[in-house]
């Protein structure tokens, strides 16, 4: 049976791989490739963030009497990712390899540390507190497109 933890963790790995592919293209000076990979990564990342911000987090907050705490921290980190990604796009468009690799390294580190918190703490917690509505919620998440 799919759990929130397994679904969203798999989604993380898919985004990670897109980011690694993008970094490899920038490192190899393959700019046309880098632009295509950047677009794919942006699309996957935005879909993942949207699934959380619009479906998962509100459900967790509602199940916990409107407590924002941890989900608010997660939303803030999403905003930091979007800011870095915007700068990375500018670097890729400007063919600026040094800045691009520095931004991607920073973005990767931010995303990885963010993932640990979600995968080891937030998702297991969500699986427990959202158990009754989990199947319906995952259907909604899978149908989500952005």
């Amino acid at each position: 049976m799919t759990t929130i933890e397994t679904f969203f963790t798999t989604d993380h790995r898919a985004c990670d791989h897109r980011l690694a592919d993008l970094e490899a293209a920038v490192a190899a000076d393959e700019w046309a490739d880098a632009e295509a990979r950047l677009a794919r990564f942006e699309q996957d990342l935005e879909r993942h963030l949207g699934r959380e911000e619009e479906i998962l987090f509100p459900a967790i907050e509602a199940a916990n009497g409107g407590t924002l705490g941890p989900t608010e921290v997660m939303r803030r980190e999403h905003a930091q990712m979007r800011a870095l990604l915007g700068e990375a796009r500018a670097a890729v468009e400007g063919r600026d390899q040094g800045t691009g690799l520095g931004l991607l390294e920073t973005l990767m580190t931010l995303i990885q540390l963010h993932n640990v918190k979600e995968e080891q703490i937030l998702y297991p917690l969500a699986d427990r507190c959202l158990a009754p509505q989990r199947a319906a919620l995952l259907d909604q998440v899978q149908a989500f497109a952005r």
Partner: protein, 433 residues
Amino acid sequence: MMGLAGLSLERTPPLWIPTPFMIAAPLFGTLFALALIIGAPPLPSRWSPTLIGATHLLVLGYPMMVMFGAMQQMLPVVAGSPVPRGRVVGLLLFALLALGTPLLALGLMATRPWAVGLGGGLVVGSILLFIASALVSLTRSPAGGPTIAALWLAVLSLLATLLLGASLASGHLGLGWPLPRTMTDLHLAWGLVGWVGLLIAGVAYQVVPMFQMTPEYPRAFARLYAPFVFVQLGLLTIAETGPASPWTTALAPLATGLTALALAAFALVTLRLQAQRRRRIADVTLTFWRIGLLALLAAVLLWATGSLWPALARQPAWPLMLAWLFVVGFAISIINGMLYKILPFLVWLHLNQARARHPRPGRRIPTMHEIIAPPRARLQLGLHLTALLAGGVALPWPSLWAPALIAFAGSNALLTWNLAQAIGRYRGELGAS
């Protein structure tokens, strides 16, 4: 059940809590090398006071120092549970360890009981405070799994190391009870294989898949490795301290051999995962990790050779080379690599938070590569590798010992500089915003 409200996913401690640990640590590495260059003949006996003192300068001042600082940062992330009273605890841990370590080391080197007592007392205070705060954080953690289990066992191993070390040190205070040399071996085993080795394993389960995008550690391996090693250390302790019998005589080499096999397995499994990584870029952190794991394999091989060929193990330099490969080769290489991830990211993170409070449109926050430039890190990696290799072959070629120490002193001076200028960059950016 753990509720959402009690859960902390943020509470990153202020930058001034972890950074003193990280900047001071390599300085202790430089001091260690200088102490041996000035104070000891080439390749001293493992029982020489200078070497015992210098070793404590290194292991307490460097790996322990970094690990105390890093745990404050790591527990909120992997355990979702910050260290209680983080600011006060952080400050006290650092002050006690940074003052106690040089005093204890000087006391051991110059055979000054008062300095051993005072310095040792400060170090014991720091370690007890660390153990207590880490155990509170781990007990409160809503997370489970192999990392948390390994951290538990590492902290318990540290407690065993401390008890053995304190009773050994009381011998140096002239309290006069007999100090069998097997106690020193047990102190080393719990400290290096238990505390350092298991902590690195617990961290590795997280960071190896995470930063290099490798597959996860095989589930059974991750679950069994730390408890297995811990049990072997326990059996070894029983064999060495219990009443002599044919049974305990056979147990000691068996437990040691199984521990060595487990360490080799950890190195091989991790190297294999890294070979399967999705992230193709080999950054300086990955190179440090690989050097560390190869040094661990070399240490196990050297140990096995000495066990099969006792003439080698009787050489005074043999235990020295084992310790060099394990501490400088395995532990310090990996710590060194991690510092190049942790500190630049922390600087970036705190600059980000500062900029969120005082926005400054049009001014980009420096990336991790701008905070510590990769060529600078690679230069220091070269020095570290030179030191490690020269020291590693000093057993057959003792004349390489002094150059190894000089390279080690230089490598760590440069590391301190690299880390300190990152903090300088942070201050500069704050001033500019």
